[in-house]
Amino acid sequence: MNKALSTSRIKSLYRVMLRIRRVEESIAERYAAQEMRCPVHLSIGQEAIAAGVCAALTQQDGVFSGHRAHAHYLAKGGDLTAMLAEIYGKAEGCCKGIGGSMHMIDLAAGFLGAVPIVGATVPLAVGAAWAARLRGENKVITVFLGDGTFEEGVVYESINFAVLHRLPVLFVCENNLYACYTRLSTRQPERPIHGVAAACGCNVMLADGNDALAVYDVASRAVADLRSGNQPVFLECATYRWREHCGPNNDDDLGYRPAAEVAKWQAFCPINQLATLLNARPEGQDFITHSEQEISKEINDAFTAALAGSIPQQADLPGYLYA
């Protein structure tokens, strides 16, 4: 990677992550006002995976996600105001208020859908890749899934079909060690998740999920492979969720995660890591300051716009049910 390219890459990844972080923090801050009346699953701490993977994709490529979708939606280019309006239950929301935080879509950005039934979108991604293949479109379809989601049989069935037909699917497993309050070791035996994917015939890749550059590099390789017709890629990234599973707060007072573990992972903040790199470069500090300002303004504007959104009408609902 030449230095100039690398600096611009660092900047762009940094900015995407910072934006996600600030959006999530703003949601958390404003949640107590009780105007975002839906569950929210924040991505704070896990921004590097969304940023790194989506940077390797084009706008035409498709992305699916699940309950913890804000980061993926934003990294793929989803509209921020439409997301916030959705969380506020407004008519301008990306689902016109029908979905809330757990349902996200932005077709223009190639964000094809996120829903909260765990595993539900994994086969959809495979189906979308299948359609792309049959229609002669050179698309890669990515689906983000958690370590817990990997336990669902439907994921295994989806991988089998994707491998069988060498479909252009990138499975990104964000292994944050927990599903809700339940540690991985209570749910899965001691064997790597990616080992199962490899045995199923996926091309397995690994990346430090808190290092956006590493994720980007590996994801770029994966995407290139998929475009050249190689078998599906299963990319496992180790990472950690900072806030509670669902909701705006920290919940480490509950004691389900060792304090040292939390501290260790927070020390690997994906954003700080890139900030350190940036700070070592000319104008890096300026870029950071500038980004903070721009993002802060963007977020404030987006919240203002979302809050000013209109109230969706019950009468419109039946029209959405059938084509």
Partner: protein, 357 residues
């Protein structure tokens, strides 16, 4: 247009609908366990892979939930998949994808994406189909907003409704009955559609309305024919659509006859027959001259032994007895027996059927 018709079996009618749908729209693909195999899903898919190639006509792994999700993913990405299950019982493995995703995807995303998906499912019966291979689960689907559900009984409707279902932009559960596949009907050669939301008056009559579903239409028409000699004139409605039910046609008929009888292929309690009764009771209460009646399966899983399945499935004679008694008409039972006793074995669709499936 539809002038040229000929007698073909319902299995052939279904096959023809698939072939014509694939011909007219290259986005239509066909997938299911056994679709390209030598038996071709009871002949309904035979030759289609040869004709349309392996990219459009697919076999699949045994993975109902995953494969349904994959078809949904394809449907929201520009294809129009038709998925086949040899037994409706297998769809219990994919209720998640059908109900959580297919039925809701368009609605959840406020109409931004359609799910043009057809799920063909076959209800089994007889010759040892037993508890896990003979369920008639239409009520489970009929409860779910976002799905369309149909159960044609004639070959004509099977072809026309399958073509309509494939052209429809919504997920449609297309329920076939194994015992209808072999029945022949006059079917046009050209493509045509039959609406997915309309019942059909199969026989006008003045004494009672019988709303029948799927194979029960066949039995009910036998009964109507037999009873007319005995002075009972039944109006027979082939429901065809299960979700939405065509309550307009049904209520108009009940307003004429004053009596509602529903004959369903499923368990009675919680079944779609109850929905018909409830909807009529709500909307046309004053037209009802007497209590409505449901004729359906007992609330028991299907037994396998042919000795036990004999009285499990209400046949024409059972139906006639129930109707005569309900209408409180004095008819000697022997008259019914003479007219409706089934001389062929009770557990096979056609006399020549000799297993194994």
């Amino acid at each position: 247009m539809l002038e040229t018709t000929r007698q073909i079996t319902q299995a052939e009618a279904i096959r023809e609908a698939l072939e014509q749908a694939m011909d007219e729209d290259e986005r239509v693909i066909l997938i299911g366990e056994g679709v390209p195999d030598p038996k071709g899903v009871f002949g309904t898919t035979s030759g289609l892979q040869e004709r349309f190639g392996t990219a459009r006509v697919f076999d699949m792994p045994l993975a109902e939930n995953g494969m349904t999700g994959i078809c949904i993913g394809a449907a929201i990405s520009g294809l129009r998949p038709v998925m086949v299950h040899q037994r409706i019982d297998f769809t219990l493995l994919c209720m998640d994808q059908l109900i959580n995703n297919a039925a809701k995807w368009r609605y959840m995303f406020a109409g931004q994406v359609n799910v043009p998906l057809v799920i063909r499912v076959i209800v089994g019966r007889g010759w040892g189909q037993g508890p896990q291979h003979a369920q008639s689960l239409q009520a489970l689907f009929a409860h779910v907003p976002g799905l369309k559900v149909v159960m044609p009984s004639s070959g004509y409707d099977a072809k026309g409704m399958l073509l309509a279902a494939i052209r429809d932009d919504n997920p449609v559960i297309f329920i076939e009955h194994r015992w209808l596949h072999g029945i022949t009907d006059e079917v046009p050669t050209l493509p045509y559609t039959v609406a997915l939301n309309k019942a059909m008056l199969r026989r006008p009559g003045k004494d009672a309305t019988v709303v029948a579903f799927s194979f029960m239409v066949i039995e009910t028409l036998l009964v109507a024919k037999a009873l007319v000699d005995l002075g009972i004139d039944l109006e027979v409605i082939d429901a065809r659509a299960v979700r939405p039910l065509d309550m307009t046609t049904i209520i108009e008929s009940v307003q004429r006859t004053g009596v509602l009888i529903v004959a369903d292929t499923a368990w009675k309690t919680g079944g779609i027959a109850g929905e018909v009764v409830a909807a009529v009771a709500e909307a046309a209460f004053n037209s009802l001259r007497q209590p409505p009646l449901r004729i359906a399966l007992p609330d028991l899983p299907a037994p396998t032994s042919h000795h036990l399945s004999k009285d499990y499935y209400p046949d024409a004679l059972h139906l006639a007895r129930a109707i005569v008694s309900h209408l409180n008409v004095a008819v000697a039972d022997i008259e019914l027996v003479n007219r409706l006793h089934r001389s062929t074995p009770h557990d096979v669709p056609q006399r020549e059927f000799c297993g194994p499936f």
